[in-house]
């Protein structure tokens, strides 16, 4: 007998009025893996997660969690999953201990049991000192940790994390990653959404890239990255008239199609390894192409998107949602 998938979805659809937020997504998350759902704002990641977590009705398609149908038996599914949303889903007027105690009581723990579980989780998440503080005094990282702790009270075998590190500083983000890895080591399956390629890269065993409600790619982070190269050589051409020549040279040297911005005379060349940059530069020098600025960067989500969809992340967002202007990649 093969093990049943943690999450199975086929043809998942959600429409809000005119907007098709999720337009027929198929997924299969295996037991014990970290599955990343990567995409820009408004791509439909959260909507998909909320459908799988019984928080939104499914318009069409099928979804099962450990073989249990999400639409038909939501109450069973809720006993199998922990959900940590993008916004702190804890009560601001209660203390950390009171929150965890309440969630424990609601899920059938006796009062004493709920207290012990709450204290244990606070200790595990390094929140003992804040146990009796009101949540309003918590930092962003502490809220996320408490939120995650609240999802673990009944030790569900599957945990949904919606953008678990958005807005966290790099150090706190690293701690959150370690916590998530710890959960998987204990036997949990994790499905998380993220806008950071780096996060998917660091954490996920497999990644699905979502764009405008559709899955545009799926694979290991390595597979995804090799589709755009390990790093990117960014060049500023002195003469934009040189761009065709420069493109040919880049193509000859690295065997990949560079991305050109004709108006500004910028060219991005995907590289398998960073030292490929030298080969491209030598080739350009020999061809007589003059360059005014050079940099080598890791590929951004934008470039992954460009490579996968032919458009950047900016125009994938819903109207009114602005593109993030902070860097997509952060180095730990």
């Amino acid at each position: 007998m093969t093990t049943v998938a943690s999450v199975y979805a086929s043809g998942l659809i959600k429409t809000f009025g005119e907007l098709r937020a999720v337009g027929g997504i198929d997924l299969e998350v295996r037991q014990g893996e970290i599955f990343g759902v990567l995409g820009p704002n408004g791509a439909g990641k959260t909507t998909m997660l909320r459908m799988l977590a019984t928080l939104l009705p499914i318009d069409a398609g099928q979804a099962r969690v450990f073989g249990v149908d999400v639409a038909r038996e939501p109450h069973r599914v809720r006993q199998l999953v922990g959900v940590t949303g993008q916004y702190a889903s804890v009560d601001e007027d209660l203390t950390a201990t009171e929150n965890l105690w309440l969630f424990g009581r609601l899920q059938g723990l006796r009062s004493a049991e709920a207290r012990v579980t709450a204290l244990g989780l606070l200790a595990q998440f390094g929140l003992e000192e804040a146990a009796h503080k009101p949540i309003s005094q918590f930092s962003g990282g502490m809220r996320r940790r408490l939120d995650l702790a609240a999802s673990l009270i009944t030790r569900p075998p599957l945990i949904f994390l919606d953008e678990p590190t958005t807005g966290l500083d790099p150090r706190t983000r690293g701690e959150m990653w370690d916590t998530i890895r710890g959960l998987v080591a204990d036997g949990c399956t994790i499905m998380l959404t993220t806008q950071y390629l780096d996060e998917a890269d660091q954490l996920a065993d497999r990644v699905a890239v979502i764009d405008r409600g559709r899955k545009v790619a799926e694979g290991t982070p390595d597979e995804l990255k090799t589709s755009v190269g390990d790093s990117t050589l960014q060049l500023q051409l002195a003469e934009s008239a040189d761009r065709d020549l420069a493109r040919q040279v880049a193509w000859r040297v690295v065997g990949r199609e560079p991305v050109l911005t004709p108006e500004s005379g910028r060219m991005n060349v995907p590289l398998d390894t960073a030292d490929g940059a030298a080969d491209v530069l030598i080739g350009l020098r020999q061809a007589g192409v003059t360059i005014t600025a050079v940099s080598v960067a890791r590929p951004t989500l934008d470039e992954v998107f460009l490579a996968l969809t032919g458009h950047g992340t900016g125009d994938a967002g819903q109207p009114g949602q602005t593109e993030r202007d902070e860097p997509f990649l952060e180095v730990r």
Partner: protein, 285 residues
């Protein structure tokens, strides 16, 4: 799923035990039992009481309104309606009790709506709990507010000279009846809370319902002074039944048929609006 059913003694752990999906699936239950529903509702009531204690301004309306309205109505209308203040009080006090309790249950809907916008309601929705618990819990906690509102009205009445003929048992009966009716009517406002888009619109809509209900009743004036059409409405208005029943109890210590009608009307409201609220909560939020 408690740790006890898994055969593990409760204790502080630094790491979580390994989760086995097959066992977890086998342990799932299709529905919440009645016992679980009651326990979850009480947990939600505990939450609401904690929040009340931390935001004492929530008690302003239930303390100030009975004090202010009792004194104001007694001295303004007493002479005009009953000749003097003290003979107006037996008519007025049960009326004010009904009015304050009804106004109080309006805020049940407003607060539910405010609460539902908060992130924690996402958590409540994601938990395997009875859908009625997040709605009924705060309403149980609100019983405290109804009790304060009704009790204070009688206290204030006594201070300005009201001497209820029904004695303590009669007054207690009137208070209990008012609290029950308030709780029942609160389901209407809870329902409005689940369908409205914002707390503001709940407030506006609720005022629209409450004002005619309380003022087009026999709460403040004798029905015989009203024109025919109005008198007809006042006679069928459930608030009138509550007011008459409360008068019979408090002034005469009498359990009249009005008490029965009030209880019946209250039950009817619960039977209609509790399922509607749960249905709407499931669908819209």
């Amino acid at each position: 799923m408690s740790t006890a059913t898994a055969g593990r003694p409760p204790g502080v752990r630094t790491r979580l035990p390994v989760v086995d999906p097959a066992t977890a699936v086998a342990r799932t239950r299709p529905h919440t039992s009645v016992g679980e529903t009651v326990s979850q509702t009480l947990s939600m009531a505990w939450r609401a009481l904690k929040k009340m204690r931390r935001n004492p301004e929530q008690f302003f309306d239930v303390t100030l309104q009975p004090l202010l309205f009792t004194a104001m109505f007694a001295y303004i209308f007493g002479g005009a309606i009953s000749g003097n203040v003290s003979s107006y009080l037996p008519l007025l006090i049960p009326g004010i009790v009904a009015q304050t309790v009804l106004t109080t249950c309006m805020s049940t809907g407003v607060q539910l709506r405010e609460d539902m916008n908060k992130g924690v309601f996402d958590r409540f929705k994601s938990l395997p709990i009875a859908r009625i618990a997040p709605l009924a819990g705060p309403m149980i906690a609100d019983l405290v507010r109804y009790l304060i509102a009704a009790g204070l009205t009688f206290v204030m009445g006594t201070v300005i000279g009201y001497r209820p003929g029904g004695g303590v048992p009669g007054v207690l009966g009137a208070i209990l009846l008012a609290v029950f009716t308030g709780w029942a009517i609160a389901w209407i406002f809870t329902f409005i809370g689940t369908i409205a888009r914002s707390a503001r619109s709940v407030q506006g809509f609720s005022m629209l319902i409450l004002f005619p209900l309380t003022f087009l009743s026999n709460a403040f004036v004798p029905v015989r002074t009203l024109p025919g059409a109005l008198a007809a409405f006042v006679k069928v208005n459930p608030v009138s039944h509550l007011v008459s029943a409360a008068r019979d109890l408090a002034n005469h210590g009498m359990i009249s048929s009005e008490v029965g009608w009030t209880l019946l009307a209250g039950m009817a409201v619960i039977v209609i609006f509790a399922p509607l609220s749960v249905y709407s909560y499931k669908r819209h939020i």
